[in-house]
Each structure stands twice: as C-alpha cells, then as structure tokens.
Amino acid sequence: MSKATLERGVAILKEQINGPVAAYFSSCVHCGICAEACLFYTETGDPAYTPINKLEPMRRLWEQEYTLFGRLKKAIGLSQPVTDSELGEWSERVYDTCSLCGRCSMVCPVGNDISYMIRRIREGLAAAGHAPEGLVAASTRSVEIGSPMGLRLPALQAQARHIKESTGLDIPFDQEGAEYLVLLSSMEVINFPEYLQAIARIFKQAGKRWTLSSEAFEATNSGIQIGVSDIARELATRVVVAAEKLKVKTVISPECGHAYTAIRWEGPNLMGRRFPFKVQHILEVLDELRAAGLFKTEGMEDTRLTFHDPCQLVRKGGVIDQPRNLLNMVASDFVEMDDHGTMNWCCGAGGGVSAIEEAAGIKMKAFDRKKAQLEGLNVDTLVTACANCRIQLEEGLEENEMEIPVVGLTELLADHLVEDDSHD
C-alpha cells in the first residue's frame, strides 16, 4: 500500500464514483427513510447514523468533480472541499456503525443502493489513512500470515488430525482433481470446529471428492471490509490460484457472509477475469445435494427454532430459499422472524464491525434489534449460517441473559445425517 494521504484518499474516492453512484446522489431527496432501515440508527436514535449521511464527503466530491453546476461552484470558490479531518470524523460512521448489511438499499424510495456506496467510500477513507486500527491489523495479518486472526496452517492440520482421531474421517489436503475445494473462515477453525467435521461426514455420505488447500484455506477477505481493493485482490487471487492448481470444479465458501461476496461476486471483478470454476456457498451445495437425493437425513428437531439470515447471503448474495429448504428437512417447528429473508435485520457486527475494537459497545447496542425480534418468537434454538453472525449472536444473547443456543446450519444438518458405509 502506498502512503496514506488526503490527496491519495480523494483520488481513490474519485475513481470510485461511477454511473450508479452519480444516479444515486442525484436522486436522494433527504426523506430519511433509510435511517429507519438501519439498526445503528434505530437502536441509538442518532441521526448522524442515517445511512445516506455516511456518504456526505463522497457526495460533495461527486458534485464538485462530476457535475457542471458543481464545477462552476468550485471554480468560483463556493464549494467546501473534502478535508482530512472530515474524513477522520466520518470513519466512525462509515466503519463502526455500518455493517454493509444493505437493508437501507431495500427501502430507499428513489432506489438508491446505499450500501453499494459505503463499500466504495471505504476505499477513499482507507487510502487517506482513516480506516480503524482493528481492520488495518486484520488486513495486515491476512496478507502476511494468511488469516485475519493470525491462524496458520499447522493449527488447521492439528484440527484435521483431531477429527481423524475422534471420528476416523480423513480431512483431505491438496487433492488434485477433487470436485470441491472447501474454504474455511478462521473463526470456524478456532471457534466452531464442528463445521469441518460436518462437511467431512456429509461429503462422505454424498460420495463426493473434496479437498482443502494447504496454500489457501482462508475464505474471509479483510480487503473488502476495510475497502482496499489491492488487498482484496491479493487475497482472492490466493484462492483462485489454489483452485486452478487443484483443478476443482467448485470452490465452496463457508458459513460466512462477506467471504461469499468476496469470492463469488467481487473476486472476478477484482481480478478482471472470469473463473474457470464455480463458486458456491455451502448452503447452495447442500441444497443441490438434497435435490439430487445425495444428502439424506433422518429424525426431526422438535424444538422450536428460527433462522437468522446473514445479510450478505440474502441481500447481496441471492441465497435465500436454500437454508429454508434445508431446515425443513430436519426441523418440525421452524418459525420465521417477523422480518426475515431479504428484509432480515443484521446481527450488528458484519462488514468488519466485529474487528473494530472501538465498535464493541455500539455493536451490542445494535444487537437490541435482534433481541426484540427474538423476544416475541419464543424459540429454543437460533440457527444461522455465518460464523461472524454466530459469535455476535452468542455474545448478544449472553449479554442480555437470553438462553438460546446458536447453531450453525451445516452442523445441525450433519446431526441428522443418515450414516451408511456404501461409499467406502
């Protein structure tokens, strides 16, 4: 990364302004409806957290650089240039209090995709040196060590050995020609080892060849959270190189929201080329196996449960029906939250918020929305499909003394797997 300066920040921010951004800024009528869709506003009542307000420096830059009237105003000294201290002030609004959840983009009456612009303004703030320290550190660890949490390959290998010892299942590494390359998030490896074991059991039953790569097992991408495309590209490239080397047909993004956005939607655009393999979220793969009759379960959960949609999967990823199809295989009392699917409320810690130390308080405040959603529902279990959501949900429930266990969908499904040895 080049040295962070205001000039560089402004130059990068200028590059981020495209047709959609210009159309969005042209259309905003300051109606305030986006605030009501944002949990950082609804839970704090602070109007500064109104989504469109988080873009004010970018709006002015657009006006000054890309509109005739704005250029005239600038020429005669009537416009206020973007300053370093302003960008510094905006850092909290752009990073700490936005999880890139995209709910504001669903309600804007003129149709502005506000979160699309937040993703872009972060590029400018990061280049100007105003990204939060926690995200800078996570990005640095990702580039240097290969994981935002500093997890190295031996830790994963140890976990694989542990699974082998306790279940007899092989965790394959670097198997050329396997159908699937499985990616993981560090959080899963560290906090939820059940996921990897569940994958191994399900693929064994389905008779599918899969592999991990010792060179690229990390799916998360701090680059797209902090908003540094160079880092995002570097991290995505590692996965693509590994997938091409192993000649897999499909790369599977794990139970994580932004990792899917990173490799599925941003990856090809960051690298400027199409991929010779498919990218799917684990829930898409499992739903396909279910539809093909390769994934069979037995028994039903009789506890009352609900599903928390990870924002990046529903509003940014189009993975909406799959978790419901899968849950209905194993749950007899599955109920939806009042707002669910594309209108689900964020857990409060996505989009990099969980990596920002200064946001620890506000992300718990934001959790109050989820708490309110859960209170009326009387569920015994909360299911989700994102390790980051899961940690925030567990923390929030704990903090609020609500005893609802949080479970990953893949593990829940694996608990009901029909184990047979026909594929051995």
């Binding site: 500064a48 469109i52 990856g267």
Partner: protein, 220 residues
C-alpha cells in the same frame, strides 16, 4: 408593465427561457450520469438483471413491507399524497392539457375540475405536513439543507398560486395567473440544478439497483 403585458411575456418569452434551461440542464444532468457508466460484471451471473431492473423501476413506488412502511408512516402517506396530487393536477387539469396540446399538437381527456381541485388540496396539505416533518423529525431536520427548503417552496408556490387563481381568491385573476406561471418557470429553471432532478434520475437509480441485485439473484 400592466398585468396583461406581463402575462403575455411570461406565457411567451418567459416560458421559452424556462423550458430551454430545463431541457438542456436535464440533458446535461443525464449525460453526466450516463457518461460515467458502469463496468461489466465479470462474476457468473444468476440473471442478466433486466427483469429485476424493470421490476425495481416499478416496485420502488411501493414500500417493501408493512414494517418498513409503519416506521416511516408520515413520509409515506404525505409523500404519496403530494406526488399523486401533483401528477393529477399537472396532467389531468383541462387548461394544462390545452397547454400541452398547443405545444406538442396532441392532448388527452381531462377529469372534472372539482376533482382536480380536491387533488390540489391533498397535494398542498401533504406538502405542509412534509415541511412540518422536515422541521421537527430529528433525522429529516438533520439531513435538511437550505436547498431542501428552496425546493419545497418551488413546489408549493405553483400549487398554491394555481389553486388561488382557480378560485379567484386574494389577488386579481390576471396577477394570480402571472404569479402561477412565473412560479412554474422558477421551478423549471431550478429543476436541473437541484434535487428536483430526482423526478428523472430516480429511474436510472432504480434501474441500476435492480440490475445489480438481479445479477446476484436478489429481488429489490
């Protein structure tokens, strides 16, 4: 200049100036957006996004769900009241249609004037509610700039002066007509330089958002 001469000017030269500024200004605004464009999406798309784009063009006129609507009730109800009232007054009042006919050579049937009158009242009341909301709601007040109030006035004046002229209230009719036409010209001139432009650009915004989401298999 007496009211007759002034009326002659605002109907002729004045209107021409306003229409030219409006037309060229808006063309520039739209070009500014289209020239920036959007890079081709290289990800494997779930759809070409065209259907989703068209859907969003239409569906964004309706709140996405009941809970979102409830949270922004004043804005939604007064917003509908104002926009529907305004569109009815502009496009379905007999004298307005006659003006379009004289300019473009074709017209369409009007609806009864007392009915249009009712819509005008709805639009006026809605605008007053929206102004009150802008002045009192913490978020909307926080977001508001002088331009927002200017644009409010530019929308309110033509409606009010038209209403007064129709009912022959307050000022002599010709003066009211002059005021009405001048206020419309004022609005037309402001149009390309203010957020009034949203009346056109929102279709581009909705289209982009719908297409971007549709490519990913999301309906917005």
């Amino acid at each position: 200049m007496n009211s007759g001469e002034l009326l002659f000017w605002v109907r002729g030269t004045g209107l021409s100036i306003a229409v030219v500024i409006f037309t060229f200004g808006m063309l520039v605004r739209l070009l500014e957006i289209f020239m920036l464009g959007r890079r081709r999406n290289l990800a494997e798309l779930r759809s070409n996004g065209i259907g989703a784009g068209l859907r969003t063009l239409i569906m964004r006129s309706i709140p996405p769900d009941r809970n979102s609507m409830r949270r922004s009730m004043v804005t939604v109800v007064a917003g509908y009241g104002f926009h529907i009232g305004l569109l009815v007054v502009i496009f379905l009042l007999a004298p307005h249609i006659q003006l379009f006919e004289s300019l473009f050579g074709f017209g369409w049937p009007a609806i009864s004037t007392p009915l249009v009158d009712l819509f005008a009242v709805v639009a006026l009341i809605s605008l007053i509610v929206l102004l009150w909301h802008r002045l009192t709601h913490p978020v909307v007040r926080y977001l508001s700039t002088p331009e927002d109030y200017l644009v409010w006035a530019a929308s309110f004046l033509p409606l009010l002066s038209g209403y007064l002229a129709y009912h022959h209230l307050w000022l002599p009719y010709e003066w009211l007509l002059v005021t009405h036409i001048l206020s419309v010209e004022f609005m037309l001139i402001l149009f390309p330089f203010t957020k009034l432009a949203h009346a056109f650009t929102l279709f581009i915004a909705r289209w982009y958002t719908g297409v971007i989401a549709g490519e990913r298999g999301v309906e917005t």
